[in-house]
């Protein structure tokens, strides 16, 4: 039995090692400076929400964490993102390997439409060279169970993913991301295209996943940020205004901008 301890906020924060260290991160699209000198430490096995008004750079920040930002033409990045002691922007780092460690879930559910439900989850393994069917079967089942989809799809694994509802598709995408064995999950407004019931399921799933994964989630929905996140980063016009424990920020924001945003004074 583990000993039950009552910790103060500071103590609990200290206990969590940082998984991702962002140092002086700047990002551009052409000439427009999207992210300005962001420095941030994201604790491991926790949920960090990135909030802020539209166009403040939330998604860009997320996409800088798995080197997806640079895929856009004219996009530029400077600064460091250190994951497990390794700067992912070092010259000798292959973004392909980085992305295996960092799963991503997008705003709209994007299953691969020409593959079966099973193959959608298995494809990452198959294309990364795993050939043993037993291993793949086990991992597919485990990932679908983790994303609470197994019972709904176990009898239709060979059907098209497009026969699933939007919420199921999004959970399928989460299973697909989990199957390549990431340690970090990036989620870009994963519920914004879903109805409230599907949202509840995904939020529940996210909270369960933080046991084993470090999760960074971008959200427009303050209630969602409050419900799921342990930490909150508030961005405004590309700058990090405030970062801290969610409860602290939501109940007692230190910066006037954060306060205004949380109270809906601007959006």
């Amino acid at each position: 039995m583990e000993e039950l301890k009552i910790m103060t906020l500071e103590e609990s924060m200290e206990k969590r090692k940082p998984k991702i260290k962002i140092e002086n991160l700047n990002a551009w699209f052409g000439n427009s400076h999207i992210l300005k000198n962001i420095s941030l430490e994201i604790p491991e096995k926790s949920i960090t929400a990135i909030i802020g008004p539209s166009g403040c750079g939330k998604t860009t920040l997320l996409r800088c964490l798995n080197r997806m930002h640079e895929l856009t033409p004219n996009a530029k990045v400077s600064g460091k993102v250190i994951i497990d002691g390794e700067n992912i922007y070092d010259n000798n780092v292959d973004p392909v390997l980085i992305r295996r460690k960092i799963g991503m879930v997008f705003q709209r559910p994007i299953p691969f439409p020409t593959m079966s439900i099973y193959d959608n989850v298995a494809i990452g393994l198959k294309l990364n060279g795993v050939k043993d069917h037993k291993t793949i079967n086990t991992i597919v089942k485990k990932c679908l169970e983790l994303s609470h989809l197994w019972n709904e799809v176990k009898n239709r694994l060979n059907e098209s993913p497009l026969t699933l509802s939007g919420g199921q598709q999004q959970r399928l995408c989460i299973a697909r991301a989990l199957a390549v064995g990431p340690e970090i999950l990036l989620m870009d407004e994963p519920t914004s295209a879903l109805d409230p019931l599907a949202t509840v399921k995904i939020e529940k799933l996210i909270r369960e996943l933080k046991k084993d994964y470090t999760i960074v989630i971008v959200t427009h929905n303050m209630q969602q940020a409050l419900r799921v996140s342990d930490y909150v980063a508030f961005l405004y016009l590309g700058e990090l205004i405030e970062f801290g424990e969610s409860k602290e920020i939501f109940s007692n924001p230190k910066h006037p901008l954060t306060k205004n945003y949380l109270h809906g004074k601007f959006s």
Partner: protein
């Protein structure tokens, strides 16, 4: 009242006029469609009525007789067309598809725009030009041959496939590429396994269009495979193909013996294009 009755009345009138215009336009479009279909169907019906009765097993498998002589068949021409189409596809499809992939997924620079422009020009070159190219490069070195024919037809085929492949691949949404890259897959695997998978139906359509075009080409074949009455034994010998014997038999003075053969060969050619179409559609059908 915000809007006066007179204005409402005018809007009503306007609405009736618009409805009438719409009806007239729809009728005109329909008539134009019928006009376009009349020649198409009359050709088809003509070919079936005159060609189908000629067809028999022996017509399909027997050797081509000299002009004016009864009996025989068009076997070598069917063999020739099949071999030439296969060889042309073997040369043209990989080159066309891969250049399309390159244009869509990789460099977008002056080199790519140049290739794109040249491809566009090449889709419209007269087929005789491809024939002369085949004649000048292959026939003058190894002689009239199936290979020369396939090269000439591939020249016609490649730009069509390149451009359709590029267009189709561009239509695959970027989010699918990103979702695949986010799984830690290298770009070439994403292109080969995910993007192509989503584009294969469209690419197949492009290949079919190109195949249908070359299957009926006559001019380049006249300059490259020359024509023959015998079975093909080697790729470096002269050969014949359906369009060639259609041309030859229809020029024959023995109208009662040779013209039905031309119709029969036409019927077989059309049937062949149809069958290739069905097979490719079946092979690239979407599973779901």
């Amino acid at each position: 009242m915000l809007i006066a009755d007179s204005i409402k009345e005018r809007m009503n009138r306007e609405y009736k006029v618009r409805k009438l215009k719409s009806k007239v336009m729809i009728t005109c479009s329909f008539l134009a469609l019928i006009l376009a279909l009349i020649p198409l169907f009359s050709v088809l019906i003509e070919v079936i009525l005159r060609g189908a009765p000629v067809i028999s097993i022996s017509f399909l498998v027997k050797r081509i007789p000299p002009m004016g002589q009864p009996g025989g068949g068009i076997g070598p021409a069917i063999q020739g067309t099949l071999i030439i189409i296969a060889l042309t596809s073997l040369i043209g499809v990989p080159i066309g598809v891969f250049s399309g992939i390159y244009l869509a997924e990789y460099d977008d620079n002056w080199f790519a725009s140049m290739i794109r422009f040249i491809s566009d020009v090449m889709t419209n070159i007269p087929s005789i030009v491809a024939g002369i190219f085949g004649w000048a490069t292959i026939v003058l070195t190894i002689g009239w041959s199936v290979i020369a024919g396939a090269v000439a037809l591939a020249i016609l085929m490649i730009p069509v496939i390149t451009r359709t492949t590029e267009e189709i691949i561009r239509m695959v949404p970027d989010e699918i590429r990103e979702a695949a890259l986010a799984l830690g897959l290298p770009k070439w695997k994403v292109t080969l396994n995910i993007v192509l998978n989503n584009a294969k139906k469209g690419i197949a359509t492009g290949v079919l269009l190109a195949l249908a075009r070359i299957a009926g080409e006559t001019a380049p074949l006249l300059l490259t495979i020359l024509g023959s009455r015998f079975w093909i034994r080697s790729l470096t010998e002269p050969a014949t193909a359906l369009p060639l014997i259609i041309f030859n038999f229809s020029q024959s003075p023995y109208s009662s013996v040779d013209w039905p053969r031309a119709w029969g060969a036409t019927f077989v050619l059309i049937l062949m294009v149809l069958v290739i179409n069905i097979i490719v559609r079946y092979l690239t059908r979407e599973k779901y």
